[in-house]
C-alpha cells in the first residue's frame, strides 16, 4: 500500500515562504486563504547566542482525521493513500470540519461570492499528482532548501522512510489521537548540523 507523508526538516528551512507562494499559485487561492503558512516563534536565546526556527505547516493528512467523520455531506474524504481532501461540489459549507481540525488547516474564503463558499485545504497536490504520478507537491518541488520531503512511508526505500527511521522526528499534537502524518525534524536550537 501507498501512504503519503511529508518530512519537514526545520534545520533546513530558512523561512523564505516560497512554499506558501507556490501553493497559492498552484491552487489559485483567494487572497484570504493560505494552506501552508511558515510560522516562527521569533528570535530565541540571549545575545550573542540567538537563533530562530521556522515551522512550515499544512494539513497533517492525519491517519485518524477529525475532519472526515464529522462531515455531514461526504464532501470531506480520505483516499487510500492517506490524502485528505474536499469535494468542492459536495461541500455545503457548514464549517463543522473547520471547527473540528485541531491544526486550523481548513478555511473558507470570505472574498468569494456569498453563496459560493466551500471549505478548502491542502490536498497534498492531489490534482498535480494525478496529472503526473511522478510529480511532487508544488510546495515540495519549490523548496530550494529541500526542507520539505514528500513520499511513501510504506516504501522502505523512500527518502521519507529513511529519514523517519534514522532521524529523530516530532509530530504536532499527537496527544489528540489524530496521528498526524507530517514529520518534523526539529532544529536543535539553531546549530548547524
Amino acid at each position: 500500500m501507498t501512504r503519503y507523508v511529508m518530512v519537514v526538516d526545520q534545520s533546513r528551512c530558512i523561512g523564505c515562504q516560497s512554499c506558501t507562494v507556490a501553493c497559492r499559485t498552484w491552487n489559485d487561492l483567494p487572497l484570504d486563504i493560505i494552506y501552508n503558512p511558515v510560522v516562527s516563534e521569533g528570535t530565541k536565546g540571549t545575545f550573542p547566542e540567538v537563533y530562530r526556527t521556522w515551522t512550515p505547516t499544512q494539513c497533517m493528512h492525519c491517519a485518524n482525521p477529525e475532519c472526515v467523520p464529522c462531515c455531514p455531506t461526504g464532501a470531506s474524504q480520505q483516499d487510500d493513500d492517506g490524502t485528505v481532501w474536499v469535494d468542492y461540489a459536495k461541500c455545503m459549507g457548514c464549517k463543522v470540519c473547520v471547527n473540528a481540525c485541531p491544526y486550523g488547516m481548513r478555511d473558507v474564503s470570505h472574498v468569494v461570492p456569498r453563496f459560493d463558499q466551500y471549505v478548502r485545504k491542502c490536498t497534498f497536490c492531489r490534482d498535480r499528482r494525478a496529472a503526473d504520478p511522478a510529480a511532487e507537491p508544488y510546495c515540495v518541488a519549490t523548496c530550494h532548501q529541500r526542507a520539505r520531503v514528500f513520499g511513501d512511508i510504506d516504501d522502505p526505500n523512500s527518502e521519507v522512510s529513511k529519514l523517519i527511521n534514522t532521524t529523530h522526528t516530532e509530530r504536532l499534537f499527537t496527544e489528540l489521537g489524530t496521528d498526524p502524518q507530517i514529520y518534523y525534524i526539529p532544529e536543535m536550537g539553531g546549530g548547524a548540523r
Partner: protein, 326 residues
C-alpha cells in the same frame, strides 16, 4: 488562539433547536403521560415549537456557504449533524401533523375533515415528535462537544448543560403560551392550572440544576482545564466576558428568574417576566459557548496571523474589496 467560524445564525439555531425540541418533549410527556387529553392546551406551545425549529433551520441553512447543497446531509451515514437533520425533520413533520389535527380549535371549520382524519394518529405523532425533540436537545450540545479541537467545548458537561437549558427554556415558553387559542373552562381550566404549576416547579429545579452544571463546568475549567480551556474560563470568570457571564447569564438569566419564580409566585413577575428572562438566558448561553471557540495554536501561529493588524482597516478594505480581489 481564536478559531472563529460560526457566527450569530448558529447561535440562534442552537437556541431555537433546543427550545423547539424541549417543547415537543414536554408536550408529549404531558399529553401522553401526565395529563392525557390535555392536548388542546398545547396547541399554542407546539405552534411556537414548530416556528422555532423552522426558523432555526432557516438560520442554519442561511449560514451555509453553499445552501443549495444542504440536502446532502441526508446522504451520509454517521455524521452527527446528519442525525440532527433527521431528528429536526421527524420532529417538525410529526409535530405539524399533531398540530394540524387540532386546527378546528381556531374556529376553522374547513379543517374539521382533515382534523378528523389525523386525530387517530395524534398520540403516535406527539410521541415521535417528543422522542425526536429530546434527541434534538441532546444533539445541540453533543455536536459542539465532539469538536475537541475547541478545548472549552470538549466536555461531557456541555451536552448536559445544553439539555438542561433547553428543557428550562421550553418550560418558560410553555408557561408563556399554555392554553393559548383555547377557552378553557371548568375541568379544562383546572388541568391548565395544574400543568402551569408543574411546569413552574419543574423550571425551578431546572434553573437550579443549570446554575450547578454551569458553575461546575466553568469553574473546573478555570481551576484545572488544559491551557486553552483555562484561558477561556478565565475570560468568563474575570476577563472580558465576565460582565456578560456573571451579570447577564448567571444573574439575569438564572438567579433573577429563580428569585422571581420563588418570591413572586402567582404574579406577573413569576408568570411573564421570569420566563422571558429564562429565554434570554438560554440564548445568551448559546452565544457565550459558540463564541468560546479558542484552539491551541501551533507554536508561532499566533504571531503569524497577528502580523496583519485588524486595526489596519485601510489595508484590509483595499485587500478585501479593492480591485485585487482574487
Amino acid at each position: 488562539m481564536k478559531h472563529h467560524y460560526w457566527e450569530a445564525p448558529i447561535v440562534i439555531y442552537l437556541f431555537l433547536g433546543g427550545l423547539g425540541g424541549g417543547i415537543f418533549f414536554l408536550a408529549s410527556v404531558f399529553d401522553l403521560i401526565v395529563a392525557p387529553g390535555a392536548g388542546p392546551l398545547f396547541f399554542a406551545p407546539v405552534f411556537f415549537a414548530l416556528a422555532a425549529l423552522a426558523l432555526g433551520c432557516f438560520f442554519l441553512v442561511f449560514e451555509l456557504g453553499q445552501p443549495p447543497v444542504f440536502w446532502r446531509v441526508f446522504t451520509t451515514k454517521t455524521a452527527i449533524i446528519k442525525w440532527g437533520a433527521v431528528l429536526l425533520t421527524v420532529a417538525m413533520i410529526c409535530g405539524f401533523v399533531w398540530w394540524a389535527s387540532y386546527l378546528p380549535l381556531l374556529g376553522w371549520q374547513w379543517a374539521a375533515g382533515l382534523a378528523g382524519l389525523l386525530a387517530p394518529v395524534r398520540s403516535l405523532m406527539i410521541g415521535l415528535a417528543g422522542v425526536a425533540g429530546f434527541g434534538i436537545m441532546v444533539y445541540t450540545g453533543v455536536m459542539l462537544s465532539t469538536l475537541k479541537a475547541h478545548a472549552f467545548w470538549a466536555t461531557p458537561a456541555l451536552p448536559v448543560l445544553f439539555t438542561v437549558s433547553a428543557l428550562s427554556t421550553a418550560c418558560a415558553a410553555i408557561a408563556l403560551s399554555l392554553g393559548g387559542a383555547v377557552d378553557a373552562a371548568g375541568l379544562g381550566l383546572l388541568v391548565e392550572e395544574l400543568i402551569r404549576e408543574i411546569v413552574h416547579e419543574v423550571d425551578i429545579v431546572l434553573v437550579i440544576a443549570e446554575i450547578v452544571v454551569l458553575l461546575v463546568m466553568v469553574l473546573s475549567f478555570y481551576g484545572a482545564g488544559n491551557v486553552t480551556a483555562q484561558k477561556v474560563a478565565a475570560r468568563w470568570v474575570r476577563g472580558r466576558t465576565a460582565p456578560l457571564f456573571w451579570g447577564g447569564m448567571v444573574g439575569g438569566g438564572l438567579l433573577l428568574p429563580l428569585a422571581l419564580y420563588l418570591a413572586g409566585a402567582g404574579t406577573a413577575a413569576s408568570e411573564v417576566v421570569a420566563p422571558i428572562l429564562v429565554l434570554c438566558g438560554g440564548l445568551l448561553l448559546r452565544y457565550l459557548c459558540v463564541y468560546s471557540d479558542e484552539r491551541a495554536p501551533i507554536p508561532g501561529e499566533e504571531r503569524y496571523y497577528e502580523r496583519l493588524k485588524s486595526s489596519d482597516t485601510r489595508f484590509m478594505t483595499a485587500w478585501k474589496q479593492g480591485e485585487n480581489k482574487y
